[in-house]
Amino acid sequence: MDNSKRYERLLERYKNGDLDRRKFLGLIGAAGLAYGLHTPFAKNAMAAAKEVRFDGWGGVVSEAFRKHAFDPYTKKTGIKVVDGTFGSGDEYLSRVKASQNGEYNIAHLSGVFDYARYHGLGLTSELNEANIPNLKYVIPKLADVFRGITDGKLSCVPYDYGTTGLAYNRKYITDEEMKEKGANILLEKRLKGKIGGWGDWRTRIWYASLQTGQNPNGATDMDAVWEALRTHRDLLLKYWSSGAELMSLLAEEEIYVTEAWSGRVFALQEQGHDIGYMDPPNGFGWQECLFVIKGSPMEACEELLNFMLAPETSIAVAEGQNYPPALDPTKVDLGKKIPTLPAFDPTGKLSGLTFADPNYWNGNEQDWSKKFGRIQKGY
């Protein structure tokens, strides 16, 4: 029954004398109020199906997405892609937590760890994989990690991967010294004041585990880890907080060694800086994904993911950000540049990379992030 019919019946009941005038006018008024309140929000809800919001890291990645995925997608479907950016995954999660259901749709997130955090907060959706045929090109191992968290289902598609290894200035540190010392180069007294470090508690604890000879996904002697973190802090010039800052510190020779993101180091090498990069044994491997947040228009998002996973889009984005795509090199020709990128695995098996175990890291997040925050500040 539509609203016009309801009003006609109401009028009829009033004319028949079933309703007094006060009650009739009251019901009409209430209907008007409800319509007035409902309409502006209903309009937004309707509009949501006509646009999809995507949030990512900005820069060259956004440009590649716009050119190869968003514009063709809008042309085909008529659905507009609203393109937003964020500075860090933590900042983005705070925004999502503060948002209304459906306000944010797809995000280019880092790590399996973040995927598990979103799942823990009840923000995962369920993708219909039949709507994403390009998913068949993705390295199975990358998708399987996500499936393990969400009961065999996916709330994201894997998109790229990389490592957080060791970057060093070859003018001051030789390749041989790096091979010999590995992660312990970050505790080298000779380099005091010339050592950097990412102010991310997970990375710090991962490397402290390596420095104390422990499994980064299962350290048992945490006192030794905290002590290694303090030693590192006392030798450190600065905790860096963004890729741009990392590149600036290395390029300006403010620091000679730090752990660093593989793609950023490749960019420095492309610029002509003599910066070496090395993944120590059990170095930190990670992957990024395109995550669909609960409450999003699923079919529209799935179609957009399919556009973004298309080999030409994935390869363009990978070449822009210097991280290998999640596409299986045994199924897709990845061109000339990608095989030269750090962390690239031509076999598509990724057996050389160690990824963070989400259960281990999530289970300790609350205590360790706080503990590291204190150590970082001198305690």
Binding site: E252, S369, Q376, K377
Partner: protein, 288 residues
């Protein structure tokens, strides 16, 4: 309605848009923060609704928070002192200048046209290992190796002074402009030297401006977040950095709320003490 009643209502009617904005954009969000401060963060990052005093107990009893708060107040105090020492001569020069004051004030405001973050980052190019300062010293042979000047408490204070100095100068300038120049002439004609005149006439009369500038610099300095992130070293965090970490990195909004409220309470108390003894009039003049 009588004329008196109407006249009594008029200011409230005129003030109502501003009061509504303050209510909706300041008081209501602040109340949300107060409510949040009694919740807890669960292991998954979700909030546990209820009335818990755990976060308050932690923040008020843990010396870590106390030490960072004291460090923050110390940095803000030193910054304010440096701003006062540097700002007074500049404000005096502008106020007593016979040149075009409007141009000088415009030059003073010019840095505000550039983003605060960019202004802060500019120090990296000046004081960095391959920055202008080291390059000049090396090129004229004073040093062989670049000096490590960045990423310590001194550079944090330097960045804050760079940001806050115009606020101090403007407040002192407004105060100096209000002083009747004949008072200084009278002091001189009665035998006081120029230095005595300054110490016993000009300085006391300009103290309200100095205090207003000091309050602004202190409050803004103590609440800063970005300067220690860009120019500070591992041990130079300020209280606002703890708020950021709790809310963004640890997703612990209840703890972040408590930290925010503690900072608001401390800075609010300082403003109240200032208002009790000096009043807000001079501050308003300076801001105008």
């Amino acid at each position: 309605m009588s004329i008196e009643t109407r006249e009594a209502r008029q200011p409230w009617i005129l003030l109502s848009p501003a009061l509504t904005s303050i209510l909706l954009l300041l008081i209501v969000p602040l109340m949300f923060i107060v409510v949040y401060s009694f919740w807890l963060r669960t292991a998954t990052g979700a909030d546990q609704v209820g009335f818990y005093l755990d976060n308050w107990a932690e923040v008020l009893t843990d010396e870590f928070y106390r030490d960072i708060l004291l460090q923050t107040l110390w940095i803000a105090l030193v910054t304010t002192g440096v701003c006062a020492l540097m700002g007074y001569p500049a404000a005096y020069f502008i106020a007593r200048s016979k040149g075009n004051k409007a141009i000088m004030l415009l030059l003073l405001m010019l840095p505000f046209w550039i983003s605060y973050i960019i202004r802060t980052m500019s120090w990296i190019n000046i004081l960095g290992v391959s920055g202008a300062f080291n390059s000049v010293l090396i090129s004229i042979g004073i040093i062989d190796e670049p000096l490590q000047l960045l990423y310590n408490q001194v550079t944090v204070i330097l960045g804050l002074v760079h940001f806050l100095l115009p606020f101090m100068i403007l407040n002192i300038y407004v105060s100096l402009e209000d002083i009747d120049i004949n008072l200084e002439d009278a002091a001189c004609s009665l035998g006081a030297s120029r230095w005595q005149t300054f110490l016993e006439v000009t300085l006391p009369l300009s103290l309200p401006g100095l205090a207003a500038g000091g309050l602004l610099c202190f409050v803004l300095g103590a609440g800063t977040y970005i300067t220690p992130v860009i120019l500070g070293g591992p041990r130079d965090a300020m209280f606002a950095n703890l708020v950021f970490e709790a809310i963004i990195t640890q997703l612990d909004w209840p703890l972040g709320s408590v930290l925010s409220l503690v900072l608001i309470a401390v800075l609010g108390s300082i403003v109240l003490v200032y208002n009790r003894f000096l009043g807000m009039r001079q501050l308003m003049k300076g801001l105008a």
